[in-house]
């Protein structure tokens, strides 16, 4: 297993460089221009000068290695410099966003708190609710709990967030006035009152997002548990006199986890780039919103950096999932 892990990690590096190249070429090919956000009153010659100032005058085989160098060499130098007070970077140019002319990584770092607070928390909540629902639904198949769970999770999944988000805002913010409809990213939690406010402004987006996650994870959990509950070894375990909880939680659950682990692992990168619509509806202004604004404004350095970070997460999460398969089911062999 260890050699497998090391081999996978080493092979990830050329994979990621290749993925970065494909993303870069895709962005090159895609229509869209950073000047589209500028008013039409700016004459074309001025727009052309602006494009050149952004560095778009260079051909792609100059810009891509430049980005690679900035991402892998210059940026880490800056981090080491700011952490240890050294001066490796020596004024080299960092990756600069077209829209804000400021370093991309600074902006990403600004967004991490609200992304983790809202989207990350909703993911944790969603998974935490989904697992018991899936297990109980499978154990008591076709009971009232199962039917209700199925109904709620299917409705929750098929109702898009641009609707459910607005619906909860209309109910809880406009009509009842209990909760704020716009997320305050500058809010700092220092005492109980501020914590209460943070919870108040978080609860709607977290619930809307968690509903999507819960629906998916609980369905896969239930289906997988149903497959395993009918197996012979379950009958054997019961015949041996084991309690139901041991049978279900220790034997069946572990064997049912494989599809669930896949879905959970694949969902983690989506925390950082997937909740685009919900973030926009609640003005959470996390990484998803940053990505969509950058895409619409054709801010290539920002899009490139964020999608590459997501690619790194995806490759990493898939590796972790594969390792977990081996842990959950020792019969699975990679070597």
């Amino acid at each position: 297993m260890l050699t497998y892990t090391i081999r996978r990690l080493l092979l990830s590096i050329p994979t990621l460089i290749f993925i970065a190249f494909v993303i870069f070429m895709l962005l090159e090919l895609a229509p869209g221009d950073p000047m589209s956000q500028m008013p039409l009153t700016i004459p074309p010659e001025v727009k052309e000068k602006m494009r050149l100032a952004l560095g778009l005058g260079e051909p792609w085989w100059v810009r891509f290695p430049l980005w690679l160098k900035q991402f892998f060499i210059v940026e880490p130098q800056y981090w080491i410099d700011s952490a240890f007070g050294t001066n490796f970077a020596d004024g080299a140019q960092r990756i600069i966003s077209f829209q804000s002319r400021s370093p991309v990584f600074d902006t990403i770092a600004e967004r991490i708190p609200q992304t983790l607070w809202v989207v990350g928390m909703s993911y944790v909540v969603g998974v935490a609710i989904a697992l018991p629902i899936g297990i109980i639904s499978a154990y008591k198949q076709y009971s009232v709990f199962d039917q209700a769970g199925t109904f709620v999770s299917m409705i929750g999944f098929s109702v898009p967030p641009f609707f459910s988000g607005v619906l909860v805002i209309v109910i809880f913010s406009v009509n009842l006035g209990w909760l704020p409809s716009i997320y305050d990213t500058t809010h700092e939690v220092v005492d109980w009152d501020t914590f209460k406010f943070q919870m108040q402004q978080m609860i709607m987006p977290v619930m809307v997002l968690a509903l999507q996650t819960t629906a998916q994870v609980s369905r896969y959990m239930r289906a997988s548990m149903l497959d395993n509950l009918g197996q012979d070894y379950v009958r054997t375990a019961r015949a041996k006199g084991m309690t139901e909880s041991v049978v279900v939680m220790r034997h069946v659950l572990r064997n049912s986890m494989i599809p669930v682990v896949t879905v959970i692992a694949l969902g983690i990168p989506s925390i950082f780039g997937g909740a685009i619509i919900t973030e926009q509806v609640f003005k959470v202004n996390g990484l998803g919103q940053l990505l969509i604004i950058a895409l619409q404004g054709s801010d290539i350095p920002m899009v490139m950096t964020i999608t590459f970070l997501l690619a790194v997460l995806i490759v990493l999460m898939n590796l972790i999932a594969d390792i977990l398969y081996g842990v959950l089911d020792p019969r699975i062999r990679y070597d």
Binding site: L11, T15, I19, V22, I23, L26, L27, L29, A30, P31, G32, Y142, Q147, T150, F151, M154, I155, F157, S158, V159, P160, F162, F163, V166, L167, V170, V174, Q216, R219, Y220, A223, S224, L226, D227, G230, I258, P259, V261, T262, V263, L266, I277, L291, I292, L295, V303, T307, F308, L310, A311, I314, V315, N318, A321, Y325, D329, R331, I332, R333, Y334
Partner: protein, 319 residues
């Protein structure tokens, strides 16, 4: 003392040849949820497919004088609401009839939803099974999956539109051309999760004893996959199919929000829902009907999937 009787000369009645699929149907029928789902799905498909011939109001026809008509049931609790039997579900802010829009929208949404979902399931299952079964291809296929997962959807769809919209439009006409483009776009961006899940299950299944036994009697890989592996990974595929249908319908509405979907004179359930969110408090029925249509369709497919899985599982059938 028992008399050892001779075997009688009357021939035993020969059992009728039993079709396995009738058993499956019987088992399916006993699943109440699945039957309800099947009936609803048949109803909504007929409603959308045949409805426009029976209710021949043009969904695109504007009628400003009769805009904002409420559905007829509103008259039950609000006597002065503007309602009309000619427009049972009401009209929108430009006077278009909502019922014919739901029918027409249903045609497109269901067509896009089913086709994109089937495409995604086919690709995902194929990649997942091949990758899980043949270790040599696993690494390359999974890295390809990682690549497609990492690609940002918006530029990818923009590039597809750029490259293929005009040739498809010239070859198939505007509506069919964009239909193919959207179905392809949704299909090739949603198969990855299915592939990973199927691969995981296939890898676990491959090590089971019955597979070992089948291999030891010389079963070729092709038959191994179709006869032994595939039927046992049906569960996650069914779940993927259900979730995939909902995702396809909703993704289509997100695409039209970005200008990448059907032109604005082609209604779809997701688009009707999206356009009505702004006026949700004043006209809740405009979000209720498309939302209900999507949710109930997904629910129906989910129950059918449940029923199918139970029906195809010989252990439940009692054999």
């Amino acid at each position: 003392m028992t008399d050892l009787s001779m075997p009688s000369d009357t021939p035993e009645p020969v059992e009728k040849t039993h079709n396995q699929w009738w058993d499956v149907w019987d088992q399916f029928r006993s699943h109440k949820g699945a039957m309800a789902g099947l009936i609803f799905l048949a109803f909504i498909t007929l409603f959308c497919a045949i409805g426009p011939w029976l209710w021949d109001v043009d969904p695109g026809k504007l009628d400003i004088r009769n805009k904002d008509v409420r559905p007829i049931y509103v008259a039950i609790w609000d006597g002065e609401a503007k309602t009309s039997w000619a427009r049972p579900m009401g009209t929108d802010h430009l006077g278009r009839d909502i019922m014919s829009n739901i029918m027409q929208g249903g045609r497109i949404s269901l067509a896009v939803g089913w086709t994109a979902m089937i495409l995604a399931i086919l690709i995902g299952t194929f990649v997942g099974v091949i990758s899980g079964y043949f270790k040599r291809l696993d690494w390359a296929l999974m890295r390809f999956t990682d690549l497609v997962l990492s690609l940002p959807i918006l530029p990818l769809l923009l590039v597809m539109m750029l490259l293929f919209r005009d040739p498809l439009r010239a070859a198939f006409g505007p509506e069919t051309g964009i239909f193919i483009l959207i179905v392809a776009g949704i299909g090739i961006t949603s198969w990855m999760q299915t592939a990973r899940i199927v691969r995981g299950d296939v890898m676990a299944l491959k090590e089971r004893e019955f597979v070992l036994a089948a291999r030891s009697i010389g079963t070729p890989p092709r038959r191994m996959i179709t006869r032994h592996i595939l039927p046992n990974v049906l569960s996650p595929i069914m779940v993927s199919a259900t979730l995939g249908l909902a995702t396809a319908i909703i993704t289509e509405s997100a695409l039209s929000f970005l200008g990448l979907g059907f032109p604005s004179d082609f209604p779809t359930w997701g688009k009707i829902l999206f356009d009505s969110v702004d006026r949700m408090t004043a006209f809740p029925e405009r979000v209720l009907w498309p939302g209900l249509a999507i949710s109930l369709t997904v629910l129906a497919v989910n129950y059918i999937g449940d029923g199918l899985r139970d029906a195809l599982d010989p252990r439940i059938r009692g054999l």
